[in-house]
Amino acid sequence: MSSTVVHALYNDDDILMDAVKKTRAAHHHIEEVFTPFPVHGLDKAMGLAPTRLAICAFIYGAYGLGFATWLMWNIMINPSGGWPQDIGGKPSFSYLQNMPAFVPVMFEMTVFHAAHLMVITFYMRSKLWPFKKAENPDVRTTDDHFLMEVAVKNNVEELTSFLQNTGAVEVKVVEKH
């Protein structure tokens, strides 16, 4: 199934921001915006939902802390299954008694899990991997141009002239497959 979209190219992020606001006000659906660098406030202007990555990271951190505790308890303390030996007089009778010695490990494991699992989550959610085919509609968008992709509802002519008026340097009608 193929659909028609309009690509409007801009060469300034301020003009792009204005265009996004106007387009949203005119109730055209913005499919995607491609920019060479993060444009501050663009997500708010587009009305994108805030990210939940930080919440994920917190949960991963809690998991890492739990994992470290479980690991150290089973190795250093657990009387059935671990090796609770006297190493230099450290009290290995209970986890709490020897806890200060485990804190560096618990801290690092928390940070490790929070960081790495969050990054992997980010890759998965944004569909990034080493041999991924680039989805760039126009090579200039990685250099100095901004591209807004708008879905066509019914009237292509009207939409293109509307986008021309938002300060676009180029407006293209594209068939998407």
Partner: protein, 439 residues
């Protein structure tokens, strides 16, 4: 322009009056002589029941004589502890509030030197909070003098009797002697107060000037202050806090004390800002400013915990007898405050202030702020009490009323300073940026 509300003024006076009465009661009810303690201990013993008596009946006479000497020593020990109690309560509250205002002053100096673009709208609040430094340090200095003239036994190295029998303290007497100690105190208090007064003066002069001369002056002054501060702060923490334990030493102690009062100072700035904002006085302060302050509260709380743990864990791990006694007494006699403050100063602020949205919600920030301030009072309590009052320590009338007195004085001084000049500086080079600060 802020007007000191009469309600708040009344509150501060009520706090001070209750505080003074409570402090007076604390001194009045402290035992005057050994006999008082003797009768008190007897009354306590009879409370505990007569189980001891049968067991002690079997002792030989020789042992009994020995026990008597021991008992006498014990009574004398308890007597000194009880006599110290109201003094130590006063000392902890006094140094805590003084250092809170010093923490705010340091934060202010850092903001100046870092040329922070967000904070100039809060400079007058910071100056207000740090204005308690002068009255606070005067009272504190008087307390130091009273200790030096043997009105109390907070610092055992000042007692000639003790030093005569203590080779460890004798070895340190080149540093720990009253004249040198009090001169250091004068130097530090003068440095801090001079910076505060000059910086405030420059800031007000900058309002009326046509160029940025006074701003630049303040920049240089703040940089100089920060250098002097970090040196004086380190020595101050040895002199006023570490030296109540003249047998113990720790290298990162100065940093630890700094983190404790720095986070309290930032928290106080945040809470005063929120109060003034809620009364409609700070029209340029938005939720992003609150957010930034909350981030600092969060971050420095974690920093405090890092130092607390590092100091504790290094000593716990190696367990060298001459170092470990410090934590042994704290864990055995002050278990709840010692570990409870880790909850108050770390776990609670960590879990409440980690959320971005929560950092902007006033009731949550105020709750976290109160918990942090209580936690750091407990921190100072645990630093001072075990070696001055020991097993007789408790949070009672003396402790609470000392806090109330200094809280009342703090509120009075801070808010009367705030009401003296407009709350927004007029022409700071970063003012426009600060007004439109958005995060």
């Amino acid at each position: 322009m802020y007007t000191f509300s009469s309600k708040l003024k009344t509150l501060s006076f009520v706090l001070m009056i209750i505080g003074v009465l409570g402090i007076g009661y604390g001194f009045f009810s402290a035992p005057k002589n050994i006999q008082d303690v003797e009768t008190m201990l007897k009354a306590e013993e009879s409370h505990h029941g007569s189980t001891h008596t049968e067991a002690t009946a079997h002792h030989t006479e020789k042992k009994e004589a020995h026990a008597e000497a021991e008992h006498k020593e014990h009574t004398e020990h308890v007597f000194h502890q009880l006599q110290n109690k109201p003094w130590a309560a006063l000392y902890v509250a006094c140094i805590f509030f003084m250092l809170v205002s010093l923490g705010a002053l340091v934060f202010y100096a850092i903001q100046q030197v870092a040329q922070a673009g967000w904070s100039p709208v809060l400079f007058r609040v910071m100056q207000g909070v740090s204005s308690y430094l002068l009255p606070g340090s005067i009272i504190f200095f008087v307390l130091l003098l009273l200790s030096g003239f043997h009105f109390n036994h907070l610092f055992i190295w000042m007692d000639k009797e003790v030093v005569a029998h203590d080779e460890l303290i004798q070895g340190k007497s080149g540093y720990l002697n009253f004249p040198f100690w009090i001169i250091r105190a004068i130097v530090f208090l003068v440095i801090w107060n001079t910076y505060r007064i000059l910086s405030r003066k420059n800031c007000l002069a900058q309002d009326e000037s046509n160029d940025n001369t006074f701003y630049k002056k303040n920049f240089k002054l703040s940089a100089l202050f920060l250098v002097l501060f970090i040196v004086s702060e380190s020595i101050m923490s040895w002199d006023w806090i570490l030296s109540v334990d003249p047998h113990w030493f720790s290298t990162l102690f100065g940093w630890y004390v700094f983190a404790s009062f720095f986070v309290s100072g930032i928290t106080t700035i945040s809470m005063v800002t929120l109060y003034l904002k809620s009364k409609g006085y700070l029209e340029n302060v938005n939720s992003s400013h609150i957010h930034d302050l909350s981030k600092f509260m969060f971050g420095i709380s974690v920093f405090w915990t890092y130092l607390w743990f590092s100091q504790f864990m290094l000593i716990w791990y190696s367990n060298i007898p001459e170092e470990v006694t410090y934590f042994k007494t704290r864990i055995e006699q002050f278990n709840l405050p010692f570990f409870g403050m880790v909850f108050l100063n770390f776990v609670f602020p960590f879990l409440t202030l980690i959320n971005t949205d929560f950092k902007r919600i006033a009731p949550i920030v105020v709750t976290a702020g109160i918990v942090i301030l209580v936690g750091h009072y407990v921190d100072f309590y645990v630093m001072i009490m075990p070696s001055t009052v020991g097993t007789q320590a408790s949070i009672g009338v003396s402790e609470i009323s000392s806090v109330l007195f200094f809280l009342g004085l703090f509120i009075f001084v801070v808010f009367s300073t705030l009401s003296k000049v407009p709350l927004t500086p007029k022409r700071n080079p970063f003012m426009e940026e600060s007004k439109h600060f958005h995060y």
